[in-house]
């Protein structure tokens, strides 16, 4: 049974945590999609991850976090266009990996799936920082990475367990 805590989030069971850990092991390598020395390619990959995450959170009924993922995507789009690259149209995506697992998770499996997704996002941004030359873009990416780390705090029943 799913217990709700005062933050409106579901505590993570041991089984759920194990499922999340397994998801991490099966996840794509950190920074997959980021292309060294290709800021536009890196940005496109991050934008795709954010849009997929927003869609997955919406499917999982987690509107607050979906909204913040969508804000991240909206911040990345003009940065990509500023590099002279057309941003792909925002459209419904075919989800895969951690985003797909979150979108289809139910009950006790939902928060562990979200934790796995957020951990992937933090890793992707950390890997991407090295290929972003522009100071403003690096700052944007770093603050989005920090936002995903904050999501980990609110997704854990014991916030201290979110700390890496």
């Amino acid at each position: 049974m799913s217990h709700r805590d005062p933050r409106g989030l579901t505590p993570v069971s041991r089984r759920g945590a194990l499922a999340a850990a397994a998801g991490l092991l099966l996840a794509r390598p950190a920074g997959a999609g980021a292309q060294d020395g290709d800021p536009a390619g890196t940005l496109r990959a991050l934008l795709a991850r954010e849009e997929a995450s927003a869609q997955a959170y919406r499917s999982a009924g987690m509107a607050r976090l979906a909204g913040q993922e969508a804000e991240h995507a909206r911040a990345l789009r003009p940065q990509l266009e500023a590099l002279g690259q057309p941003a792909p149209p925002a459209s419904r995506r075919t989800l895969a990996g951690a985003a797909q697992r979150l979108a289809t998770a139910a009950g006790d499996d939902r928060d562990p799936a979200a934790i796995a997704l957020e951990r992937e996002l933090v890793k992707a941004y950390r890997a991407a920082l090295g290929s972003l030359d522009d100071p403003a873009l690096r700052r944007t990416a770093a603050t989005i990475m920090a936002s995903h780390a904050q999501h980990l705090v609110v997704l854990h029943r014991d916030p201290l367990r979110a700390l890496g």
Partner: protein, 151 residues
């Protein structure tokens, strides 16, 4: 008189390196990371004042950040003044100061390792801020872009 170092310590390095201020030289990496170091040292003390397990865990993490920054060659800025008031609020104010210094450093530090370190400390700091906000009964994620700003 406001010195360049004071500006950096306040997380305002962006003013020196951003639009309209290109003529100003960007401070050396040691100075940019030094602003973060000073804030993290102050945070270690502030977190130690908090009751319970949270204070101990966060103080240890702030000390760990300070050690990493020292290893990276950070030249500590003068310690920031301790904010007055309730310990949780004071820690949150210091945490935000550290985060602002990190955001500044991520943009202009020249060394890739230094940038990654600043991003790591920012990320951890954002988590600490979320924990403090939860303890204070406030929204732990008031913004999608945590950079040390008060809501």
């Amino acid at each position: 008189m406001i010195t360049r170092r004071a500006l950096v310590a306040a997380g305002a390095g962006v003013l020196l390196a951003g639009c309209g201020a290109e003529a100003e030289p960007v401070p050396p990496d040691a100075e940019l990371l030094g602003a973060v170091l000073a804030a993290e040292r102050a945070l270690a003390g502030a977190y130690a004042l908090l009751e319970g397990r949270t204070g101990g865990v966060l103080a240890a993490r702030a000390r760990s950040h300070a050690a990493r920054l020292e290893q990276a060659g950070a030249d500590p800025a003068p310690a920031p003044a301790s904010p007055a008031g309730e310990p949780l609020e004071a820690a949150l104010a210091l945490q935000r100061r550290s985060m602002a210094a990190c955001v500044s450093a991520v943009g202009v530090v020249r060394s890739p390792a230094g940038r990654t370190l600043a991003a790591d400390v920012l990320t951890a700091g954002a988590q600490h801020a979320a924990i403090l906000l939860t303890r204070l009964g406030r929204d732990p994620v008031p913004t999608a872009f945590p950079r040390g700003q008060a809501p």
